[in-house]
């Protein structure tokens, strides 16, 4: 190691230490409460079983859809229809399932309802992540046919090359489900079906617990342990050029693909629409939007969430842009931020409470901003990582005599504009309807819209909650405008 790189390394280590503080605080507080965590073993088991089942379901469906898309030559618009489901915030999907089931006259037990909502929300993600690996499969299929390997035997040829992708995508899905708070909060809490994130939240507000924060931290630690195996499996998603599809598409496959996308969207959207638009008792058209928007909690929540989402997306993108010319630091920081993106948000939320409760930051929007920055930075870095040709262009500019600084300013950064925009369109809606961190960290006067919707739902204001949910779903579709971006 050369001497000149040492200070940079030291600075990076120090930064890593500071960034890891919330997790360390959580760990130290949790150690005294391991017995309580042990008592919650049934909830831990519940979390594990639900996340695993959900992962298998979404993975299977994603695979089937990916296959159908390849065979059927599914175009962008049909694909967009499927992806819509992913852009509706998870807790809004949860509400949609709640109301759709009521509309259909079905009564799903909490655990099944959670699985259904997860499947509706995360299957499009599974599809998108699996698609590159599937594309590369087509040539092998053709080779298999040439060699006379047909029917069920093809699985033995096709499965092994898929396995790494399945493991990586499965790990990512498992982490997302394990840490998901919104869906079990909407569908599980009223039925008292707990998973670790919702139990940690319930413990924080328990009137009988002698040390709510300590018990919640222990649950956080348990959650971290369950996340660990998948974290080790994790690899950055493959985004490669797709292999070509079949020359003659099978229309039936396309039909099936479209039917699933439509059904999923209906299941999530139909109940919400009915609840928001019609009086549930008289059946007359009576939109609840104006009532919902007249609620002070909703207004404040919208304002706070808008500002927080703006600030978080712009600040993280700016940081990523500024570090883009330094690939070493960029990659190292991204690795750190990845941890906060992949680990369940409950850990970060609890860690920040433990760390900052004695400071004036606590119970203000600033602690929320800090949490958002840590949570969403990874996405900004991922968005700007793309665009490898930028380096070459900057190098060309250098050849033409520009200083490194000016080369980046005049050539590099402008070339990254589409990636930055794409990153913004991904981060902004996610931050706008964030609920895991804000449910733990909000304070009176510093509510977010997610907290407001959850409050309305728990306060029996179903129609107002549905109306705001629909608005959030609409904002959530923003990234569809930037499909060419980070996917």
């Amino acid at each position: 190691m050369s001497r000149s790189r040492l200070p940079g390394l030291v600075a990076l280590m120090a930064l890593a230490g500071v960034l890891a503080l919330p997790l360390l605080a959580l760990l130290s507080r949790a150690l005294g409460h391991l017995a309580e965590a042990g008592e919650a073993w049934d909830v831990a088991l519940n979390s594990l079983a639900l996340s695993t089942l959900g992962t298998l379901l979404t993975l299977g469906l994603g695979l089937a859809l990916g296959w159908a898309a390849l065979l059927g030559g599914v175009g962008r618009s049909l694909e967009g229809l499927l992806l819509l489901g992913y852009f509706i915030p998870p807790f809004v999907t949860g509400m949609g399932v709640l109301f759709s089931m009521e509309l259909l006259g079905l009564r799903l037990p909490g655990a099944l309802a959670i699985l259904l909502a997860w499947t509706l929300h995360y299957t499009p993600l599974a599809y998108v992540l699996l698609k590159p690996a599937l594309g590369n499969l087509l040539p092998s299929l053709r080779v298999a046919r040439v060699h006379g390997v047909l029917g069920g035997k093809r699985v033995r040829v096709l499965f092994p090359p898929l396995l790494p992708a399945l493991l990586a995508v499965g790990g990512a899905l498992y982490l997302a489900l394990l840490g998901n708070f919104g869906v079990p909060a909407v569908l599980g809490l009223p039925d008292r079906v707990y998973v670790l994130p919702t139990l940690a939240y319930a413990r924080l507000t328990s009137p009988v617990s002698p040390d709510p924060l300590g018990e919640a931290s222990a649950l956080g630690l348990l959650l971290g342990l369950l996340a660990l195996p998948a974290l080790l499996l994790h690899r950055p998603p493959q985004v490669e050029a797709l292999g070509e599809g079949f020359t003659i598409p099978y229309p039936v496959s396309r039909l099936l693909f479209g039917a699933y996308a439509l059904l999923a969207l209906l299941l999530a959207g139909m109940g919400l629409l009915k609840e928001a638009l019609f009086n549930p008792y008289t059946g007359s058209l009576q939109p609840a939007f104006s009532e919902a928007l007249a609620m002070p909690l909703v207004r404040q929540g919208l304002l706070h969430s808008f500002l927080l989402a703006m600030a978080a997306s712009l600040a993280t993108l700016l940081l990523a842009l500024l570090l883009r010319p330094f690939p070493g630091a960029f990659r190292a920081l991204r690795g750190l931020f990845d941890l906060y993106y992949l680990l369940p948000g409950t850990l970060l939320g609890l860690g920040l409470i433990l760390l900052l409760a004695p400071t004036p930051l606590y119970a203000t929007v600033w602690i929320l901003l800090l949490a958002y920055l840590l949570n969403f930075a990874s996405l900004a870095f991922r968005a700007l990582e793309a665009g490898a040709r930028v380096e070459a262009q900057v190098a060309a500019a250098r050849v033409h005599g520009l200083s490194p600084f000016r080369a980046w300013l005049r050539v590099g950064f402008p070339l990254l504009r589409p990636q930055a925009l794409g990153g913004f369109l991904v981060i902004f809606p996610l931050a706008l309807s964030e609920i895991t961190l804000s449910a733990l960290l909000y304070a009176p006067g510093a509510e977010t819209i997610g907290v407001a919707v959850l409050g309305a739902l728990n306060g029996g204001l179903y129609r107002e909650a549905a109306a705001i949910g629909l608005l959030l779903a609409l904002v959530g579709t923003l990234p569809l405008l930037a499909r060419r971006g980070p996917w």
Partner: protein, 317 residues
């Protein structure tokens, strides 16, 4: 550049409110729609005053306040929830500010401990019925709910979360013994989280009968829900939901003004409109409510009873 400037202005606007003059923080279990209406009406009479509200079930509100008191950083200027015991505890520690009950006509029995905390409107726990779902004869007494005809049709809110439900548990255990709830459990009593959620599900026919608050049922009925309140002949349970000004309030005059506003004709009429019984004698009565109510004074369940209840129904917390 202009965009950045206006963004900065937005930030100041949004985050500066905490520092603005005339800010109140209220911790309450009052139903969200009702507290919004009251706060709006108060702000109309007191322009420029910001009222921050933390609203949740009584259990969560008390937990939050306890945690803040322990940390030495309690936030609310006003507290308002269905746990009279906790009010007594706070008052005993000198943590509630006395507000002299000088509003003319106010029934003094509702100003507890000489004005440390107040009742500003009355609500009762009654039997609510979905008139479309219930085909059988309606119950008349609390005891009737244990009849086999109502098997699987019953629900009540979680007493760990809802202060009113804790009072149902305490009062009926006192009157009928804990065996009453064992009989209801055997009759398929379901536990929902909160009164509002339970009332939504009752209105949509998931249940036919519920042990729940009267005003919320009237609110849903006014929106067209097929709901009715039954005031049991052996007494509806009067749920104390006092409000008080905290001793640590940084803005006690404003907090006091809010309390007195709740006793004003405007607020009292608002209570009646939303299905509560106003506490002031001259105020209008809630629509569709009986003129006179046979009331049982409500007492919250103690720790032991709550623990037995949690074990009986397999509730966590």
């Amino acid at each position: 550049m202009k965009g950045i400037k206006s963004l900065a202005a937005w930030f100041l606007l949004a985050f500066g409110f905490g520092l603005a003059q005339g800010s109140l923080t209220l911790y309450t279990s009052e139903v969200l729609g009702d507290v919004n209406a009251l706060v709006e009406a108060f702000r109309k009479e007191n322009p420029g005053v910001e009222v921050k509200v933390f609203r949740s079930g009584t259990g969560e509100v008390v937990a939050k306040l306890r945690a803040e008191l322990e940390a030495g950083n309690p936030q609310p200027d006003l507290i308002w929830f269905a746990n009279p015991e906790y009010f007594r505890e706070l008052s005993g520690k000198g943590l509630l500010r006395r507000v002299p009950p000088t509003v003319p006509g106010y029934p003094v029995q509702y100003a507890y401990e000489g004005g440390r905390y107040y009742e500003v409107r009355l609500l009762y726990n009654v039997i609510a019925v979905n008139t479309q779902r219930l085909r059988e004869e309606r119950p008349r007494l609390w005891r009737d709910l244990a009849r086999p005809a109502y098997r699987g049709l019953l629900a009540m809110p979680d007493p760990n979360f809802s202060g009113a439900a804790l009072i149902t548990l305490g009062t009926l255990t006192g009157r009928l013994g804990f065996g009453y709830f064992e009989a209801l459990r055997a009759n398929g009593l379901a536990i929902e989280q909160s009164n509002p959620v339970l009332q939504q599900k009752l209105a949509r026919g998931e249940y036919a009968l519920a042990l729940t608050t009267d005003f919320g049922v009237r609110q849903e009925a006014a929106k067209g829900a097929p709901l009715a309140t039954l005031y049991p002949q052996d007494g509806a349970i009067l749920v104390p939901t006092p409000i008080g000004v905290t001793s640590w309030s940084r803005n006690p005059t404003l907090a006091e003004r809010f309390l007195r506003f709740l006793l004003s004709p405007t607020a009292q009429a608002l209570f009646a409109e939303r299905g509560y019984y106003p506490v002031m004698p001259g105020a209008p009565r809630p629509k569709g409510a009986p003129e006179r109510v046979v009331a049982l004074p409500g007492t919250p369940a103690d720790e032991g009873t709550l623990r037995r209840f949690n074990e009986l129904f397999g509730l966590r917390r």
